[in-house]
Amino acid sequence: MSSQAWMVWPDNFAVSFLVVAVLAMAFMYAARWPMHGLLRSVGHAVGGPLRMGARWLLAAAAEVQARNKAVLLAHGKHEVGQRVEREFERLGVIVQRELQGYPALQRKLLDEITRIEEDYKKCGEVPPPPPEWTEAVAAVANVKTGGNELVLRVLEEIKRSITSIHDKTLADYRRAYERRHKILESFMPFWRSVDKNLVQVEQNMARLQANVRTVDAHMAIYEQINEGTDKAQHALTVSGFTQFATSLLVMCVAAGGAFINFKLIALPMSEMVGAGDYITNSLRTSEVAALVIIFVEASMGLFLLEALRITHLFPRIANLNDRLRTRMLWIALTLLVILAGVEAALALMRDMLISDKQALLQSLSTVQAAAHDGWMSSIPTAGQMLLGFILPFALAFIAIPLESVIHSGRTVGGVFVLALLRSLAFVLRVLGSLARQMSRVLIKLYDVVIVVPLMAERMWKGSRSERPSKLDVDVDLERTHA
């Protein structure tokens, strides 16, 4: 069809355009109300389902949130409950260990105090007073001799006797004091013992008090979780995120270890399963076999930790009786040791293969190989063997972060699903509003296009009635906002 087919007068564009515009305007004016209705219906038809979808997503988000909360609180309750239980166990051990010795300690303390009291009493004994004859001596001393020789001799004799008695008494007195000092000196070990025992008692009490405070703190958290408060939920969510990030980090480190392990055994595995088979275009069967070995090691580590009740990923293992569990533990440990031994051997083989290949390449090349020190070159070999033996055991511990990732992953995943649902609901709501607003804009645009007949209508109505012809517009606005 020609682009000029619409022209009424093919030679005159302006007149043709004017005629077509007038005709179109007249047609559009005539079809105004049906077109308004159509545009409004389209807006509702598009916006309605979108709003409905947004409401459904919000309802689903609320349901997911409730479920997340229930799961989170249940998990938190279980965790804190276990922690409180463990604290009580620890408390019980302390009480049993420390307080069961208290009667003996008390008896010991009482004995020591009684002994100290007795010794103290002994210290309180005063030496016998000097004989009463000292007064008589004083009286004799006042006797006037008068130069009588007999009296003088008697007095001299008395003085000599008194001096000797004085010396003896003084010596006795000193001996008595010396004895008391010795008794006092013998107090010291008892005092020290009493002091030590009392310090021990104080420490025990302080430890007990600290443990009780920890239990109190855990109990407070437990109560909050039990009440299902937002604070507890928030704390548990944050804890879940932290746990998830930490575990993921540890797992990344473990993946690095697995990669090193893989490098150690991938080449020698080709001696066992051959190097010519491929799984994909660039992936050999020997490489997959090496990976399977690593997975088996990790699984053995998982079973070992499950049997030790360190992790609880398999309730069936945890519920086994002690005998079976111990058997399982030993089986897993034995297999792990065997696999570690195999890996050490493979690491040695890898080194031998690489050396052989290097020797071949050197013989093929024109440049001669440089001489190398014998014992120095054996260091990497020993290192590889050691790594090959240690890495399986190190990988065994991956079960702990794995369990943590699984448990905290539910919390993290739940939060992300919730955020996704809410975001989708928001987007659908925005799109629904946009569709309805677009229908209103199109209605207005329609009226703008036929503004000339509308003005003519308004003028005509104005001339017939004094009332303003605003009613149509208002009704229209009301309808579009419905």
Binding site: F262, G274, G276, I279, T280, L283
Partner: protein
């Protein structure tokens, strides 16, 4: 193997567990024709360098055959050494050592032959490569690409080199080529046309022996 490949192993292991193993052959078979006719016999030392490179680069499960283009009509007896390397790396190294010794012994005293039956070598090489069942097949022609046949030998018939890469190495210029270089270009073009008509996957000329890695470009 890089870390990315290690990560790619994880889903691949799952695929393997599900039984979706890639059954296509990933081995590489190489057939090397060494021209020892006329003055080109002096280039045999270079041929050994290329063979050594191949021995160092080929993987367990790959195949290698080396043949001399020296007789009037190329036949099985012109193959100097051939081997499919064991899938165990330790055995593979031993095989490569033995292969190298055999090549050294064969090329120790090379005398210039009178005829150059390159077409016959190509036919024989294609047969060998197809028999190996390798996923990637390459014929290396170490020659000046000047075919010299006697009057009774017929080689102007279509040959089949379907799925085979043909690499001409060390294509030196002859005296006549130096006089008129168009002869050299024309000779190479004629071979390219013939090889491509025979259904070869690729035709390549490598004169720089420092770029031998292009010989084993796997596609």
């Amino acid at each position: 193997m890089k870390r990315r490949q290690f990560l790619a192993v994880l889903p691949a292991a799952a695929l393997a567990a599900a039984g979706c193993v890639d059954s296509r052959s990933h081995s590489h078979a190489v057939y090397m024709l060494v021209d020892t006719s006329g003055t080109y016999a002096q280039e045999a030392g270079k041929a050994q360098v290329i063979i050594n490179y191949l021995l160092g680069s080929l993987q367990p499960g790959d195949s290698l055959a080396v043949a001399r283009v020296q007789s009037r009509s190329f036949s099985e007896k012109d193959i100097v050494a051939k081997a499919t390397f064991d899938s165990r790396p330790s055995q593979e190294n031993a095989q490569k050592r033995a292969f190298r010794e055999r090549i050294e012994n064969s090329f120790r005293a090379v005398s210039g032959s009178r005829y150059t039956d390159i077409t016959g070598g190509l036919i024989q090489g294609a047969e060998f490569l197809n028999e190996t069942g390798a996923g990637s097949k390459t014929i290396i022609i170490f020659s000046d690409m000047q075919e010299e046949l006697d009057k009774v030998t017929q080689r102007d018939f279509p040959i089949s080199l379907k799925g085979v890469r043909v690499v001409a190495v060390n294509v030196v210029k002859l005296k006549t080529d130096n006089i008129d270089p168009r002869k050299y270009m024309g000779r190479l073009e004629a071979w390219q046309k013939r090889v491509e008509t025979a259904g070869a996957r690729e035709w390549r000329v490598i004169n720089n022996l420092d770029r031998l890695d292009a010989i084993l470009a796997r596609g």
